[in-house]
């Protein structure tokens, strides 16, 4: 039962990384977009989905809390600064995107705030994930501090995640846009995907020098790990190739960059899980030692687990409502006027 619940938490993490990953990535992309209308277009694309996407983060948080209370009480203080910065960035992002949606010509500071907050959130999440490889001191189930030292691994992982999210963002943009925006996404997406692969490989190799080196002791683990990594590389390669392709020659050229990167993200997360399970935080906090009591897990599986299919349905429904290609100026004008009634007023 503990394992099932662990899979639920992992599932939430994967959903979060894929969905908020693309929208944080598009946010980061706005920093490099000079054209105001294209920038606005990118922001409106995020506006349709960000709140639902972020709810996966909250669900992951509470699933961890309920199912693995000890881990929640240790991991969060252990990752205090990167998580606080993530929260700051997500608040600024949420606030600025709503205010941008309310105004016809938002001040530049809002769009910059949105872009920078997206980048900061992405980096801080990677940093936080990287911190998980450093040892935490735990006394009687309470966090008491961690080993100091320069956080070089978290920084590498922060950059990797920021790059990966940006690549996902361009992948999603290529899927959802037309015209010049699509060209930009295709051009930049390919470059970012390439850098993501380089930094991904660097993180994979350098993890050996952290407190949480890969545990590939049994053949099963090693095979699973390398198989997953092979999938990840294939996904990345498919994405990199298809960013440049055009739908005229290759009907799936708009879908494959995003799909390939999703495969990469999911398999990479799974690969690292395989290589570390059941350790959550080194040296000794494991899934079993952190698990909540039987009554709690039953409640969680019935109350929350059974709701998850429903949630996936809502999520699918919300994305489906805004499915297909996202139309440029028409859409942002009309969306804005829905919110402010601006068309007849000013």
């Amino acid at each position: 039962m503990t394992t099932i619940w662990f899979l639920v938490v992992l599932f939430c993490l994967v959903m979060y990384v894929v969905f908020d990953g693309y929208d944080l990535g598009i946010g980061t992309g706005t920093l490099f977009e000079r054209d105001a209308s294209r920038k606005r277009h990118m922001i409106e694309l995020v506006a349709t989905g960000w709140d639902g996407n972020e709810t996966w983060l909250i669900l992951m948080g509470v699933s961890l809390w309920g199912g693995f209370p000890l881990a929640f009480g240790v991991i969060l203080p252990h990752l205090y600064l990167p998580l606080i910065i993530t929260l700051f960035a997500l608040i600024v992002r949420g606030g600025s995107i709503e205010l941008i949606s309310q105004t016809r010509n938002p001040p530049a500071i809002l769009t910059w705030a949105f872009g920078i907050a997206s980048l900061v959130a992405a980096f801080a999440q990677g940093f936080a994930l990287g911190e998980l490889t450093s040892a935490a001191h735990v006394v009687d189930g309470a966090y008491t501090g961690s080993d100091g030292g320069f956080p070089w691994y978290p920084i590498v992982l922060g950059i990797t995640v920021a790059l990966a999210y940006t690549a996902l963002g361009y992948g999603y943009l290529k899927l959802k846009s037309e015209g010049q925006l699509l060209d930009t996404a295709a051009r930049r997406g390919g470059i970012v995907a390439l850098f993501t692969v380089i930094f991904g490989a660097l993180s994979l190799v350098s993890i050996a020098w952290t407190d949480a080196p890969l545990n590939l002791g049994t053949p099963g683990r090693a095979v699973a790990f390398w198989a997953l990594i092979a999938f990840a590389i294939t996904g990345g390669a498919v994405a990199a190739v298809n960013f440049r392709r055009r739908t005229e020659n290759h009907p799936t050229a708009d879908l494959l960059p995003f799909a390939g990167l999703v495969v990469t993200a999911v398999t990479t997360l799974l690969a690292f899980t395989v290589a570390h399970y059941p350790v959550l935080v080194p040296p000794s906090l494991t899934v079993t030692s952190a698990a909540g009591p039987y009554n709690t897990l039953v409640f969680l599986l019935v109350g929350i687990g059974l709701n998850i299919p429903l949630i996936i349905f809502y999520h699918w429904f919300a994305h489906r409502t805004f499915g297909g290609k996202f139309r440029g100026p028409v859409t942002h004008e009309s969306r804005t006027s829905v919110l402010t009634g601006a068309s007849n007023e000013r």
Partner: protein, 466 residues
Amino acid sequence: MSLIDLSRWQFALTVCFHMTFPAITVGMSVFLCVIYAMYWRTQKPVYLQMFRFWRRIFAVGFALGVVAGAVITFQMGLNWGVFGAKTGPIIGPIIGMEVVTAFFVEAGFIGIMLYGDGRVRHITMFAATVMVTIGTILSSTWILAANSWMQTPEGYAVKNGQYVPTDWAAAIFTPAFAWRYPHMIVAVLISASIFIAGISAYYLIKNRSRGFARRSLSIALGVAALLLPVQLLIGDGLAGNVDVPYQPSKLEALEGNWQNGNTGWVIFAIPDQAEARNIVQISVPWLGSAIAKDPTGKTATPGLDNTPVNDRPDMAATFWGFRAMFFASLFMFATVFLSVVLRLRGRLWESRRFHKYVLWTTPIGIIAILGGWVTSEAGRQPWVVFGLLRTSAAVSKLAPDAVVFSVIGFSLIYLVLLVAYIAYIVHTVKIGPERDDPRVNPDLAPGLEIDTEPATAFANAEEVAR
């Protein structure tokens, strides 16, 4: 300032900021349901105008409430890691239920509620609005269940230092929940009503959109007039059935007495916690006894000296939190009393002085709710789980610099957001509800084409309603 003080200030700041938004939006979502139902039944354009206008205020408040609320879940682990680890088996699943039954429901239907009118059928709009409302109320329900367990914990056993659920029904439906839940739901309905009435009064004063303003004011003040007496009874029941038997220290602190024997009721005090006395105190004779349901004036209010020094909550915070709620409720009583008198004399829509009073008291319901939460949370101290886990034992052992950084960060970001929200409300109110009148502006958003295939299917299936 010590680590625990910093973490407590941070938590107080973030929850107060968060609570400002649900204090308006939960009640307002109910109001929007009612308005839309009335529009659906009567087809009167004024109801659609009301729905559209109040939805503007609702939409941004809702988004900010969501963003600010997400932070709180994580703080339970970030700053209160020991609390998170020990109470996680009980509180974690309860908050988890909030996420799956409320957050995702809201996220799924808010889009239709905000952007759907004019392009989906009335029944779909109404259903979406009802679903969002159910989401906001369920959210309040689970939060109150979690917090009430911290006030009067039941249905648990202690195992390996953790509080482990033994009886879920008992853990969710605690004695405190039975009273605090209705108290909170009625409170958000009242505060939203007072808020709506205040803005409506502004239009009556300015002589704008009178049809809109009269109906909004009338409904809002009618609801408040019905609910305030109910709230008085619930509040009294809460003190008598929860505080007296379970949390006497909270009651002693909120009444502002140190020694037993005062039959009066303290309306002003500056408590000195260390010396266990009030530096200044103004007490109204007889009233304390009367509130304890003894009109002979012989029943005294118990003092905080009954509680051992180490178990005393901070009197100043508890007392003034309660007084803020109480004095705010007096203002609201004045509003509803005057509204009933004016209504009976047929002058509810003419009395300018009354409208000005209502306008100035627009945020008073929110102040009352914040005061109530301060009473509830400060009065529970020094416990985080009353009688079981001390706040000082629940805090994460963090580097103080990191907490200072986070406190400053939250303060700055929240200040900016609060100013932006108030500016947005003022701006929206000044533009006014005229643009929302369907006779002036039949379709708010001509030519909305968010997508290709599914939306056309959507628009075709649902006949466009005017």
